[in-house]
Amino acid sequence: MGYIEDKNNFAIQTFNITRKFGNLTAVDGVNLGVKKGEIFSLLGPNGAGKTTIIKMLCCLLRPTGGTGAIMGYDIQEEPLAVKSIIGISPQETAISLHLNSLENLELICGVYGMSKEETKKRSEEILELMSLTKRAKDRAGKLSGGMQRRLSIAMALVSDPLVLFLDEPTLGLDPQARRSMWEQIAGLKGKKTILLTTHYLEEADALADRIAIIDEGKIIALGTSGELKNKIQDKQIMIVKAKNLTHEAIEGLRKIYPDAREIEGGVEIRAKEISFERIVNYLHSEGTKIESTLIKEPSLDDVFLQLTGKEIRE
């Protein structure tokens, strides 16, 4: 049973996939289906099991329970078939430092058995796509961190894989390099099936068609960014920055909005419905000098907080 029938047009499927390390269950019966051409994000804190799922799907680690399939090929029974259609950019930059950018790409083309002509064509295309053409002949060790990461992703793409695994693709990059990387990944939307792991909420929000929130090896929520945000009960969040905000004033506010909490230099109020006027009038009556107010939409951070009771970066 090497080939798993693909009725639902899924590029990646997991069937109750589990991985235990001794007594620790890193991945606990995860069921996923990633559609062809979709950018799908696994979002969760460090140690949630994201990388373990990717390692199992890339045939680097055998599941201790359940299984998975890439384009219908069982990861345990048809590893060579799986390996010939996937590309991976691991969490750390995976490049050969003494080779130049072009030689790194040629290395990957070579191990996939591509012809010289095909290698030249694909390498040039991918260097262009990743904005590395000008640095093609520069040793990889001399490139900046952001460029090395782009080269690492270019190496995952150069064999023209059907399914691409990007494990924390922007980890450790500065904000500018991260934005640039997002643009490169967004450019692949619809062309490749991408499984992206991240613990940056804004990254999943900006790039993914669908997001699975994972914590302690289990999927705790799955949907589009909008669907996930709609799951949370507190539809509105108001942040008030103020001077002379006393403990008594906050306690009084809690009688109206029980989830009001003190934050640095102000108060945060979460509720299904918030009355701006009522809050401002109340705080004024308590002698508080309001500096600013902000009503914001719930973020994925809020979703994670509500589902797990902890911040994603804890």
Partner: protein, 242 residues
């Protein structure tokens, strides 16, 4: 031929590291020059170019072994190796890619050492082909040992193990001092290993011995070469499947 791409990368990684070139090529030549000058001053036959060539070549291979072991151990800990394990490369491809480039470097080492020895008065009475065969066998033997060390140890451990082998080759191989001068248990250990057999055999053939004359030494070398290479290949193959 998928292995060729990785083999080519491994060759480039090694030759583009200046220290590797110094240790693999420069150091053996310096040793040859140094002992040749010593021999000239002392009038000692042990240090003629003909006697030094086998010692310097095989001593040079011990550095090659150490560098190949460190490279493999470092690669195994790298995410690039992880990436390569997700490609269609098979265990045999990894074994070929982590051995063949070093055989090429070994051939280059042999050529450079021959050239230097020729400049210093090398005399070849016997069959040069047999000498070359002995050298290639020892290269494969030590590359196999390097593959074994690189497969089971971390980079730091491989560094230490590689240094230990270099000392064994120099002292117990009889590179700079005949083992009979050491005598006792160390002579026995030396002749239980392949290095002294290879150096003795090559020296004897250069001085006119035939294949038959050195067959016992050659059997020791072949036995160790087969054993070390299989050991290295099995360990690396196992690591790529682990």
């Amino acid at each position: 031929m998928r292995f060729a791409a990785l083999a080519s990368r491994n060759l480039k990684e090694t030759v583009r590291e200046p220290l590797s070139v110094v240790f693999e090529i420069g150091l053996p030549l310096i040793f040859m020059l140094m002992f040749w000058a010593l021999g000239k001053n002392l009038g000692e036959d042990m240090f003629t170019a003909t006697m030094q060539l086998p010692a310097v070549v095989i001593f040079g291979f011990s550095f090659l072994m150490s560098i190949s072991a460190i490279t493999l151990a470092r690669d195994r800990q790298s995410t690039l190796f992880l990436r390569l394990l997700t490609t269609p490369l098979k265990s045999g491809d990894f074994i070929a890619a982590y051995s063949l480039p070093y055989v090429l470097i070994a051939i280059f080492q042999i050529a450079v050492c021959f050239a230097m020895a020729a400049l210093l008065g090398l005399e070849i009475i016997g069959n040069i082909g047999i000498v070359f065969l002995i050298f290639i066998l020892m290269a494969v033997c030590l590359i196999g040992l390097g593959m074994f060390i690189g497969s089971i140890f971390t980079e730091n451990q491989a560094n230490i193990a590689g240094s230990a082998v270099i000392v064994f080759v120099a002292v117990l191989g009889g590179c700079w001092m005949p083992l009979k001068f050491v005598g006792g248990v160390f002579e026995s250990i030396g002749y239980a290993l392949p290095f002294a057999h290879a150096i003795d055999a090559a020296r004897n053939v250069l001085n006119g011995s035939t294949l038959g004359d050195v067959s016992i030494d050659l059997l020791w070398v072949i036995g160790y070469t087969v054993a070390f290479f299989i050991l290295g290949a099995v360990c690396l193959g196992w690591k790529t499947k682990e």
